[in-house]
């Protein structure tokens, strides 16, 4: 059975995150499966896929360090921080520049409005804790939330991730379930009209 840790705050998640990265949180037996048929073997495969498919780049907030921007691992894969209230995005002049991103690389302004990256941790209220593996697969397959809600917005590379096999997606979801839940309510996206500050 894949262990599903109890929710915690971002700060208290830091230690547990380190364990999750190494998959050392009471590793389940490889043959055991959770309610969605997800096994530790799949979670291990999912860890590899998450670490090589760019998920961290947008879903883990960046913080500035002496070495430059690095991932804030206390918020691993928890999406845009809810306490980071974004001002209107700067209006871009006419020309080839199209997209603006936040310093955390979790908020993106473009022709679609402003999108905020989702909390992928298994927190039941603010993350994927209440999702089933089928919800996850439906979302990636259709580009709609849960396969039936609003469209998933740029820069989420839905057309690319749509090429994952079912087993890959199950593995990714299995791994996400092993993460420490981080309570972080990501804001809803902004419509284009409310996105930008007036040009100066």
């Amino acid at each position: 059975m894949i262990r599903r840790p109890v929710p915690m705050t971002a700060s208290s998640a830091a230690i547990a995150v380190l364990a999750a990265i190494g998959l050392t949180v009471a590793p389940p037996s490889a043959a055991a499966a959770d309610r969605d048929g997800l096994t530790a073997e799949k979670a291990a495969r999912g860890k590899y896929l998450v670490s090589t498919s760019g998920c961290m780049d947008c879903h883990t907030p960046m913080k500035m360090t002496p070495n430059g921007p690095e991932w804030d691992m206390s918020r691993m894969l928890s999406g845009h921080p809810e306490n980071l209230k974004m001002p209107p995005a700067p209006a871009l002049p006419q020309g080839p520049w199209l997209v603006v991103s936040s310093a955390t690389n979790t908020a993106f302004a473009g022709p679609w409005g402003v999108s905020f990256t989702a909390n992928l941790t298994p927190d039941p209220e603010t993350g994927l804790g209440a999702w089933t593996v089928q919800d996850f697969k439906n979302t990636i397959r259709t580009g709609r939330h849960l396969g039936r809600g609003r469209a998933v917005l740029p820069p989420m590379p839905i057309p690319v991730y749509g090429n994952f096999s079912d087993e890959d997606l199950e593995s990714i979801f299995a791994y996400l379930r092993t993460l420490p839940p981080v309570k972080n309510r990501v804001p809803e996206p902004w419509a284009p009209a409310e996105t930008t500050a007036a040009p100066k």
Binding site: R141, T142, G147
Partner: protein, 347 residues
């Protein structure tokens, strides 16, 4: 529906190629005119229909000869292999599309839609990803893709929507928006046989239906006529995703009304709405957004999303580009006038 069943449904739908579906509507077994000569086909009309931007809709069901529906679970009828259903959408008196679903031998369902030619003489299989039809008035009409069908049918307790014990109860709700009963004038002479619950039993199409549901037809257990119609409206338009069974969306909103236990489903629906925190927080609602705020239509997330047709806000999320003024008026009356004047506090 079990998650595995939903997965099979999705897999079957995505695996079905256009070549496996009939190219013309007539080859699905539905006659092109108003009269259906096949005695195995019956017209029906749910008492709480889905809002489809005002399109006029007609519906038919066909069971294979000798087959019947297992109705022993009144809220989750099981349909026999070979069941077919059609729903025709017309705008300004002209048929635009007819949607079709059929139960396959492996238990999965396949979905298709057929687009009518301008002269109304033929209806042709739409592209798998859907299409846009330009109506004579210049308006655009979005025909759904096959994957879009699953957005509503795929996660429902039963993939067949609008054809169940509550929807076909002879105790019809007089305040239900947009409901119509097939008539001989509009639907042809055989429409007089359009089916409700007793008619289905008489045809031998239902087996296992609890007799109590014939003695006392299904009815929403509401505290007022307006509440009955409002909850029925939400049942017909929202409960395919917002229910308590497998396949639901993972939020605590249960808008499904039960024929088997109406008192419980009434209480569950109110508990999940009235004063309940909303996971979705529209801009400007702050951190204390509630699904329904008694007496305050504008502060209720439910109606905010029903009124919106912004792609990121609107509910339902697809299948409609115009808010339903009549449905909103009903829910407005319920929230503004009924809920604040309750004699007993609600959960």
């Amino acid at each position: 529906m079990k998650p595995v069943a939903l997965a099979l449904l999705l897999a079957a739908a995505t695996a079905t190629s256009a070549a496996e579906l009939p190219e013309h509507l007539r080859d699905t077994g539905l006659a092109m005119g108003h009269v259906q000569d096949d005695p195995a086909i019956a017209a029906f009309s749910p008492q709480y229909p889905l809002w489809s931007d005002g399109a006029e809709k007609r519906r038919w069901v066909r069971l294979p000869p000798g087959a019947s529906i297992d109705a022993s679970r009144p809220d989750a009828w099981q349909f026999p292999v070979g069941t077919r259903l059609w729903k025709e959408f017309s705008v300004a008196g002209r048929p635009v599309e007819t949607r079709y679903m059929e139960r396959q031998a492996d238990g999965s369902w396949r979905f298709a839609t057929y687009v009518w030619t301008e002269d109304g003489r033929d209806a042709v299989l739409a592209p798998e990803r859907g299409t846009v039809v330009t109506l004579p008035q210049g308006a655009h009409y979005q025909v759904p893709g096959r994957g879009d069908c699953l957005a509503c049918h795929g996660g429902a307790r039963v993939p067949v929507l609008g054809f169940g014990a509550l929807q076909l109860s002879p105790d019809r709700d007089p305040l239900a928006p947009h409901a119509r009963t097939p008539s001989a004038a509009a639907d042809g002479p055989k429409a007089a046989a359009s089916v409700d619950l007793p008619a289905l039993v008489a045809r031998g199409w239902l087996r296992g239906l609890p007799p109590a549901l014939l003695a006392r037809p299904p009815r929403i257990a509401a505290d007022s006529p307006v509440e009955r119609a409002a909850l029925g409206y939400l049942h017909g338009n929202c409960a395919q995703c917002h229910h308590a069974g497998d396949g639901r969306v993972p939020v605590r909103l249960n808008l499904e009304q039960s024929a088997a236990d109406p008192a419980k489903s009434h209480a569950d629906a109110l508990r999940s709405m009235v004063g309940a925190p909303s996971r979705y927080r529209p801009p400007g609602f702050g951190d204390d957004a509630r699904v329904v705020v008694p007496g305050d239509f504008a502060a209720s997330v439910l109606t905010t999303r029903m009124q919106s047709r912004h792609a990121r806000v609107q509910m339902p999320p697809l299948g409609t580009e115009r808010p339903d003024a009549e449905g909103l008026a009903l829910v407005y009356h319920w929230i503004t006038h009924d809920l604040p004047t309750r004699k007993e506090p609600r959960p």
